[in-house]
Every structure is written in C-alpha cells, then in structure tokens.
Symmetry: C2
Subunit: 335 residues, 2 copies
Amino acid sequence: MSQIIRIAIDAMGGDYAPVEVVKGAVDAVKEHDNIKVILVGDSDGIKDELSRHEYKKEQIEVVHTTEVISCNEGPVEAIRRKKDSSLVVALKMVKDGKADAAISAGSTGAVLVGGQVITGKIRGIKRAPLATVIPTMKGVSLLIDCGANVDARSEHLVQFAQMGSIYMERVVGVKNPKVSLVNIGEEEAKGNALVKEVFPMLKELDTINFAGNIEPREIFDGETDVVLCEAFVGNVILKLAEGLSSTLIHAIKDGIMSSTRGKIGGLLIKPALKDVLKMFDASEYGGAPLLGLNGLVVKMHGNSKAKEVRVAIGQCIAFMEQGINDKIREQLGKK
Amino acid sequence: MSQIIRIAIDAMGGDYAPVEVVKGAVDAVKEHDNIKVILVGDSDGIKDELSRHEYKKEQIEVVHTTEVISCNEGPVEAIRRKKDSSLVVALKMVKDGKADAAISAGSTGAVLVGGQVITGKIRGIKRAPLATVIPTMKGVSLLIDCGANVDARSEHLVQFAQMGSIYMERVVGVKNPKVSLVNIGEEEAKGNALVKEVFPMLKELDTINFAGNIEPREIFDGETDVVLCEAFVGNVILKLAEGLSSTLIHAIKDGIMSSTRGKIGGLLIKPALKDVLKMFDASEYGGAPLLGLNGLVVKMHGNSKAKEVRVAIGQCIAFMEQGINDKIREQLGKK
C-alpha cells in the first residue's frame, strides 16, 4: 500500500500526556514510513516535547487546540461545548477526511460519545460497539461490546458479532474466528430475555462462525475468538478481570514477602511471575477500537505510555491496510 | 436457644454424594447438640455410609426417596415430574414445617425453581435472590443476586438490598453493613436503565446503609459489605472470578515449573501461595442461601465435600438462631 495513512492523536488525553503520547508517536513514525501522525493539542507543549526527539519532520504535524476535556466532565455536554478541545478536533479531522483514524487516552465517555456523534457511523450500522483484545491462556480474544452501548437490543448484538468477527479475522489474523455469546449457562434456553432472543439470530447468520454460549468461567481459557455481550456485562467482565488479577498478584506478593523463606523463593520465581504478568499485560495489545464508524476511533487506557501509543498506531495501520470498513460496509452497510 | 433446628439435606446432590454429604452431616451433629439432620435420598446407600461413622443416632434421620434430579434436566420439568426426588422431598419438608432448612449441592436450576415453587416465598417478597459470600482482601462481602432472577426489576433489587443487608448483619456479623450497587461508573448518572432507576430508590431507603455505586474493579478490595446486582451480572461476576483466579494460579504454576530455578523457588513460596489460595477458597464460606423464602434453602457448589456440608449446616443454624426470616417479614413482609 503506497498511500499514506493519517492518524490524529489527542495529545492531551491520558495520565502521561503529552510526554508519552509524543514519544509513542515518534517511535511509531520511525517504525512505519507510510504514516503521518497529527498531534492535536497545546502546540507549545507538544513542540517542546518533539524537540527532544529525532524523526522525519514531514511525518509529524502539530495542530494547535486550546481546550482539554477532563474525565470529570459530563461527556455529552463536554463534546458539545468544547469545540476546540484536542479530542473534538481530532475526531472532526476523521469526519472531514483529514485523518483516517483518531486515537485518545482521554475520557472514555467523551471518546464514545464523540466517536458516534462527531465522527459518525457507517450507514446501516445501528450502534458502534467498543471492542478490546483480552489476553487468554491460548493467545487473545476480542471482547465486544466492552462498554459503549448499555441497554443494547438483539439486532445490535447481531451487528457487533459480525463486526467483531471481521476485526478478529483481518486485524488480529484469526481465520474463521469462533464467536461465542456470553451467557450464564451453556444451553440455548439459558439466560435473560436478551441472550435468549439473540441466540437463534446468531445461529442463522452465515457470515459468522457461531459457537454457541460461553460461560464467564471459560472466557480466559481462550477457546473462542470473539466474546460477544452487551456493554454493561462486557464492561463488568473487563473491569472485574483487571481488578481481580491485580488483587490476586498483590495477595501473592504480600504472602511471599511475609517470610524470609518466601522472599528467597520470590527472587527465584521472579522471572516466571514476570512472564505471567506480561501475558496479562494489556499494553501489548494497543487500544480498544470503536467499530462501525466512518473512519476509526481507538480508545486507549488512561494510563497508556509511549509503548501503548506506538502499538495503537500500529493497530490503526492494520485496520486501514486490511480494509475493515470496506468489509463492514459490504456486509452490513446500507447504500 | 433450646429448640432443635431441623435441617433436611439432599443426600444425592453434588459430585461427591452421598459419601461426602453423609460425612459432613456426621461432623456437624458432633459439633452441634441443638440440631437434627434429615438425610434425604436412597436409604441403602446413606445407611451404608452412616455405618462407617460414630454419632448420636437421634441426631440423624434418613428419609428414603427413589428419584434423583440430574444437572442435565430442565429444572422446571424435573421439579414437576420427579415428586419422589431427594431434592423435591427435602424442599417439601421445609414447606410442610417438618424441617427448618434444606441444603442441596445438586442442580442449581432445580434448587432455585424448587425453592420458589415448592418451599414458597414470604408474603410480600416478590423474588427470592440467591446470595453468596465472596472472599475479598479485607474479609468477605455478600454478592446478591448471584444467579436466581434474570431480568429483575428495580423493585426486586430494592428488596434484595434489604434482605442482603439483614443477612450480612445477622449471619456474618457485620454491623450496619454498607450496600453498594454494581455499576460501570461511580457517578449516579452512569449505567443502564435498571441501575439508573434503582439508585435513587436505594438512596431513599432508611433500612439500609447505601454507599452508592461500586465498579467491578473494586469488588474484591472489600470496601463494601453487600454487593448488589441483578442475577445475570451477579452470575457473571461469580463465575468470572472463579475462572480467572484458577487461570491465573495455573499460569503462575506453569511458569514456575518450567525452570529448575523456578521449581526451587516454587517450593519455598508454597506456604505463602497456599495461604492466598485458602483466602480465595469458597469452601470456607458454606453455600449460597436463597433469601426471602418461608424457611431456608441453601445451594452448595456441586463439588462440595464434607467440610462444605458441615459449614453450610452451621450457616443454617446461624440463620435460624438469628431469626433472619422474622426480621425480613417485619421489614418487607405483608400481613
């Protein structure tokens, strides 16, 4: 692909902005010749950071904005009011065709609202779900919707299943990915009204490889590729997994450090423990794409550092090169 | 309390029935003078097992039944058809006042349906929630509803909050327990339609100590006492926590065992690791009570052994001695 992929980044979003965002952008342009990164935010601060790095000047552009949306603001109101915020300007660049993708580590609510309202959905897509790659015992799976559309209906979930399947196949590279529906029992008759309604609809789709229900206990075994659920449940899964793994690791560390014997043993198992932690480290997998938009919007974790920014940029490149939106339009779009 | 507490146990339910069920019952009557255990199931098998133990004969009675409900049967149909099953007979003993409580490690669906249909709810209680004690970094919390009533409405959750609070205060012994609503954000305005509707209702209740929303990430920190949610979400939390902790522990063990250095270290940290595992070991906390019934029904994990049975019996004793149902009737019941 000879075309240049243009990625707008909210340089003011996240705990380590703009320092780590700028560093990640520089690392990415060193890795990829075919991209241009547009850093959106306070230009003085951004340029100051950029001056510390060596890179091809034509690959990074700075767009100055004067406002920042914080995580404490109501997202709908903030998006409406702060027209010159780094996030709104970055999203608008995608809408206006000045960028192919936008990335932000800022307020999740504002990214979700802004993605749907400013960037806009593909014609025919009813809701834009947030998807995230989660680590499992066998590799990775895609959790979709992990937080964008609470109170979604069955027709929305059917679209999420198809978009998740396309993403997993083309961006992550899993052939004919298995799609499973999160339920509190394996049998078709189990569950609440929503999953009972959506199950037969998924069974009838010939565009996905539907593998039936998956119980939450099995999600991290990695037997399926796309873990489908509505956003409230998806967000519970994502946040509980984050919280519980950190709780368990802390408890184990505390236990080890409470005796001399444990301390010596702890030193010996450190490399092994590190490998496990790395396996469950979200930074390896970039950000969470909001699917079904005219363009691409990627939400990164608030505590993202340069590495995550670099990986998220790589994710945007794969998304564009693989023509995900063309495929979504072909399968789900309306003329 | 001088009155004898009578506990009917489904001696055929669970992976280790009747051997472990009988052993647990024997251990419990040795511990408690004021109880009588009624073992319900195949009398030959039960008596055979009983003959291996020493105990006061008047404390254990056997009631013969000819049928068993398996986990693969549709619960509604099974409860209706298998009138002489160990579970149905045990539940009916509670209904008929021949027992104060029933315990089963059999089919969860059948216990939930049977509890509501056979044993019956307290007048004024709209739904009977399943509650379970979960281990946290600071002790234990009560997760309610963890699986009984999918598609519950706000008025149901309000009752669950009150019953959970009563249980936590009187059975677990937490003074003025904090009740938190599971939500995907901390602010009142966050979440789906159900939690947005129930939040102000909980805030107005003067019978509970409502502490606002809790995000799934924080559940295992143990900052709250009653973790309130509807059954689909509750079951996801319970099952995901079980699955993920076992996945993590396995990954750590595999990592340790993959090198000699790790193996030696592993031996040294074994006691510490064991303590952590014990902390998260559900067997310490008995079974899951179905609250709001005329009597008490406790669902044990399918893989329960003698220890869990003994603990669940202790739980029934506390429930009776603390007059939980009188308190529920007083606060929520209708004349």
